[in-house]
């Protein structure tokens, strides 16, 4: 399949059913050419078209995947073999503890990349073109985020496979593993909106990168991803226990290696919903206002 084929078939998956053709549109257009009367969730339909643009870009320049592949691999190897022994007594046991969390940390760190990418795109003319088209104003943002979710999924799968190669053992079924991946993706989707809003606010890719790191480092390291919170001072424990990253890590641990799932998973989903409810409108409003 050529990329052109892929592009045009991308939306077939969106389930866009053609509805009545409007006849009052521009006379020079034969009705079969542009079906402007087509109803349906246009933000999602156009978002998917734009997401496919993002995926094709990634396929054409795989070096752009380094931040979601090589970087987390280095992180995992570093933590397991450098710190693992000291933290958990031996590396095998530490891998069992840390891998689910590193999975979460990978997508959390990578979600800042969505903001950086958008801030870069905003400076190119193509966003002006999107904004001059009769499409939903938030479609380019939704498209960018959906395309990045594909990147994060790739990253998650690579981490899991590497974990298994290094000796990570899953004690649950395939459905639980899929659920773990799904939860991580939902959380990444929510965080993407934070960085999208940030990108719309500061606009400079470098600033987005810097502020992103400032938010992400405490959020990922100030969690139970690498170390159980029981070894931390009380004030830090208090932070770690309310940190949504800890909740997601707990839920993923439960789903991969067994343990309580319902509680942390529910909290994670609520956290994700709250983040989207707060930051998506901010991002879309800032994007619309941006002149």
């Amino acid at each position: 399949m050529t990329t052109a084929d892929a592009l045009v078939s991308a939306e077939a998956a969106a389930g866009t059913t053609a509805v009545a053709h409007r006849t009052d549109v521009r006379p020079p257009l034969p009705p079969s050419d542009i079906e402007r009367g087509r109803r349906g969730p246009s933000t999602i339909r156009h978002g998917l078209t734009l997401a496919w643009r993002g995926v094709i870009k990634t396929i054409h320049s795989p070096e752009a995947l380094i931040d979601v592949t090589l970087q987390p691999v280095i992180f995992l190897l570093l933590f397991v073999y450098v710190f693992g022994g000291a933290i958990a007594g031996n590396t095998t046991e530490y891998l069992q503890f840390a891998l689910p969390g590193v999975l979460v940390q990978t997508v959390v760190l990578a979600s800042a990349g969505t903001g950086v990418g958008l801030a870069e795109d905003l400076h190119t003319g193509i966003f002006d073109r999107f904004r001059s088209l009769p499409i939903s104003r938030s479609a380019p943002l939704v498209g960018a985020i959906m395309a990045d979710l594909v990147r994060y999924l790739t990253s998650g799968v690579i981490m899991l496979v590497l974990g298994v190669i290094l000796g990570f053992r899953m004690h649950t079924g395939p459905l639980a593993v899929l659920a773990a991946m799904g939860l991580v993706m939902v959380f990444a989707f929510a965080l993407c909106w934070v960085f999208t809003a940030l990108a719309m606010l500061v606009r400079q890719p470098r600033s987005v990168q810097g502020i992103g790191a400032m938010i992400m480092l405490p959020l990922t390291f100030g969690s139970n991803v690498f170390v159980p919170s029981s070894s931390m001072p009380g004030w830090l424990q208090a932070f770690v226990d309310v940190n949504p990253v800890s909740k997601v890590a707990d839920a993923v641990r439960g789903l991969l290696t067994g343990g309580p799932v319902a509680g942390p998973a529910t909290t994670s989903l609520i956290a994700a919903a709250v983040i989207v409810a707060v930051f998506a409108p901010i991002a879309v409003t800032l994007y619309r206002k941006r002149a």
Binding site: P28, I34, H46, G125
Partner: protein, 326 residues
């Protein structure tokens, strides 16, 4: 007459910079309106307001009767935009870029492909169709960009300096395309810094300076206002400038304008001025490096209308449109 674009008292500021200070203009159906002015005069800002990318601070603008602020979606459905910077995706091929836009315009897959192929062919990009845009030359990008803005068969096309950075051959190709579009009934608003380009293409011209319309009319009427041909003289030695200036002043009845390169310019109202001036310079034994007649340039238009050069106007304008847009 059938008014397609109507702009009244448009104002827009970026911080302390007043980019538009009350612009009025009108474009009729199927005509090319040339918006002429130096960098920073407000051309791009005007286009961005009309293309619904910017909200004006004051004034009113309608495209095909739809208000750009109140009904931006209705405007977007009927316009095409080609900005100063090629708005295409470098990572995609030429064909994929066009299909992307076609799909965003809700064309069915097959129609999207057909339309993309049609435009690729029309803009002479067939050989490069499957190559990534990153490998395209500036001219190819421009043509692809123009093709992308035509996907939806717009009724109104905004072209912001569509020929900037193009070599003469590709420039003429783009201009030919614009002419063909206007002949098809598309209304075109084109911004340019070149009077010659506007003259070739536009049915009507609007000259703007620091966010204000300083002249408007047909190219012929504008030229009449500016005053036809000019005589340019550059003495070989700069020390001869006062002598040459005195001779020209005596012949033309006006003091010549001297630019930084030591070139003197006066309006050539008498048909024989070139010949007579040449004779006088000979009699005075002035060595002349260049002597000739030229059509008025944008600089001349500017000098006549505002009493200052386009260069001074750009300095005065502060941040340019491009800087503001970035």
């Amino acid at each position: 007459m059938d008014t397609v674009i109507h702009v009244e008292g448009l104002e827009k500021s970026f911080g302390a910079t007043k980019a538009l200070a009350g612009v009025d203009l009108t474009a009729r159906r199927g005509t090319v309106l040339g918006l002429l002015g130096p960098n920073g005069s407000g051309k791009t800002t005007t286009v961005r307001v009309l293309a619904t990318l910017l909200r004006p601070d004051a004034g009113r603008a309608t495209v095909l009767g739809h208000d750009v602020v109140a009904a931006p979606a209705a405007v977007r459905a009927r316009i095409g935009l080609t900005g100063q910077y090629a708005a295409v995706d470098e990572a995609l091929s030429g064909t994929d870029n066009l299909i992307l836009i076609a799909r965003l315009l809700d064309m069915p897959r097959r129609a999207a492909r057909t339309r993309a192929a049609e435009l690729i062919e029309r803009f002479g990009l067939t050989d490069a169709a499957t190559r990534r845009v990153r490998t395209y030359s500036g001219g190819m990008r421009r043509r692809l960009d123009l093709a992308a803005s035509l996907i939806g068969r717009p009724d109104v096309l905004f072209l912001d300096e569509p020929t900037t950075g193009l070599d003469p051959r590709h420039r003429n190709e783009v201009l030919d395309q614009v002419r063909a579009l206007a002949a098809d009934g598309v209304t075109v608003l084109l911004t340019t810094q070149y009077l010659e380009e506007a003259d070739q293409l536009a049915d009507d011209l609007v000259v703007i300076d620091t966010g204000r319309v300083i002249a408007s009319g047909t190219p012929a009427s504008l030229k009449a206002e500016v005053g036809g041909q000019r005589l340019h003289v550059r003495p070989l030695h700069r020390t001869d400038i006062p002598a040459a200036s005195a001779i020209l002043a005596g012949l033309a009845g006006e003091t010549p304008v001297v630019d930084a390169s030591g070139e003197l310019t006066v309006a050539a109202r008498e048909p024989g001025l070139l010949h007579v001036a040449g004779g006088r310079f000979d009699e005075a034994s002035l060595a002349i490096a260049e002597l000739g007649l030229r059509l008025p340039s944008l600089d001349d238009v500017f000098m006549t209308l505002t009493g200052r050069s386009t260069e001074d106007a750009e300095k005065q304008a502060g941040p340019t449109d491009q800087e503001v847009a970035a």
